[in-house]
Amino acid sequence: MNVTRYAVLAAIVLVLGGRGIAVAQRAAADGPGALEGGWVRLDTSGSGDFGGLTARFARAALTPEGAAKIKPQRDPDDVDPDNRPHKAGEPYIVTQGRCGGIGPGNSVEPNSAALFVIPTRDEVLIAREGPGGRHIYADGRDHPPLSRIVPNGAGHSTATWDNGDLVVDTIGLTEGAVTAGGWRTPETHLTERYHVADDGMHMRITFTWTDPKIYARPHSYAFEFERLPADSYAFENWCDSGDPLQRQSVVPPEQLP
């Protein structure tokens, strides 16, 4: 009888204790565990094209100084136009065929390629289906002084966990345009909040740009993502600058009379 009582007591202790540990571990691990995996960006507005994806975002409210910084940006891969008309059927080259640089370092904003987020104790690694990765330090370190950062497409990122969300702070980005009429310099702060929905299958990244020299108020917008199926895997983008077909051309079509 005593044995039975002890057994029941031990079972209760084990079960409750185990649950307590499990609950505590889940609370601490839910953010990284939920965020880990592959994600693909969604076209939630049904725009059907990349320009349309951001067309409905609220435009940035710029300071006069910020507005003065805005200037058209040219893709360095573009070929200088020859400024002459081309007959129908006469192809002409418009890009050099330069393959992209290395990985997400080119941009803090995901494109159509899948995004893979790997949260570990000290660092969150975000990679796509090509070279490189975005290294987000989650070990409590601060940004180095701006004077020590070579501005680049990924900047310098640190992160904290806030109620299950990953909150990333980035400075040191290359000067240039920001989605929905914004602008950035290396001093500009970008805050990203990665929030996974309760269903575990959807994620939102909210981007907020803050820079009193450029923005009258923080400039914010969000991208939506869907989790890749469990049996999916990362592809590998291939691009060969040595392949003549990589150079994109335009062929003017015949015009209707």
Partner: protein, 229 residues
């Protein structure tokens, strides 16, 4: 008796669960090949069909890949002159390099390779990993024979039939990572070709540097890499 057995079973379950979680080493960190003492690479025993002409043709393809800044792939990524960022969870181990090589994804929760009818060959191949004691054993197939740099340290090159097995193991109290590579490909090697790299763990405050740039339209660079010595 039944109660005792139940108790024992419950305790064993708890203890073994904790133990299994604790016995898997965490390879996460930045790892760098050290000076010339970090690579033990014997000369490969090449198959008879791998003639000088075959090797020259393959070397020519590799040179073209370097000339045009193609992504390098395996095994070149593992010989990166820059640190590798290795990040591990229960489901995947990723290896990101600071050179022009696609990030490696090693799936730890998938027991079999993607079928050949589905998987398009890549420069890194399809990698799955399993733990064998304190070693992570990574099995890779599905290599693209024509993309990237295919040369294998010690001789030979990867082909569509190459089968690579890697063993990752922490040594020196976790300050070093030993990776043993074994390439098996009857079309290239007479016997499986094995070599070992040892990587030093970098300090935890290491910060990844900007990736090495490669510009295929840099004329000076092109002249340099295509010139005959």
């Amino acid at each position: 008796m039944t109660v005792r057995l139940t108790m024992v079973a419950m305790l064993w379950t708890c203890v073994s669960g904790v133990a299994s979680a604790q016995t898997r080493p965490d390879l996460s960190g930045y790892w760098e090949l050290t000076y010339l003492d970090s690579q033990h690479v014997p000369k490969a025993q090449l198959a008879a069909r791998v003639t000088r002409a075959v090797l020259d043709a393959q070397a020519k393809k590799d040179a073209k890949a370097i000339r045009w800044c193609n992504i390098l792939g395996m095994p070149a990524i593992m010989a990166s002159p820059r640190p590798l960022d290795i990040r591990q969870t229960d489901r995947v181990l990723m290896i990101a390099a600071e050179i022009n090589a696609a990030t490696r994804y090693i799936y730890l929760n998938r027991p079999a390779h993607i079928g050949k009818d589905i998987f398009d060959p890549t420069t890194n191949g399809d990698s799955i990993g399993r733990w064998d004691g304190d070693s992570l054993v990574v099995d890779t197939v599905g290599f693209d024979p024509d993309k990237g740099v295919t040369a294998i340290p010690g001789g030979g090159f990867r082909t569509a039939n190459s089968h690579l097995v890697e063993r990752y193991r922490l040594i020196n109290n976790g300050s070093m990572l030993s990776v043993t590579f074994t390439w098996d490909d009857r079309g290239v090697f007479r016997t499986p070709h094995t070599y070992e790299f040892r990587y030093a763990r970098l300090p935890r405050d290491y910060e990844a540097r900007l990736p090495l740039n490669c510009d295929p339209f840099d004329e000076g660079r092109t002249a340099f890499v295509t010139a005959r010595p």
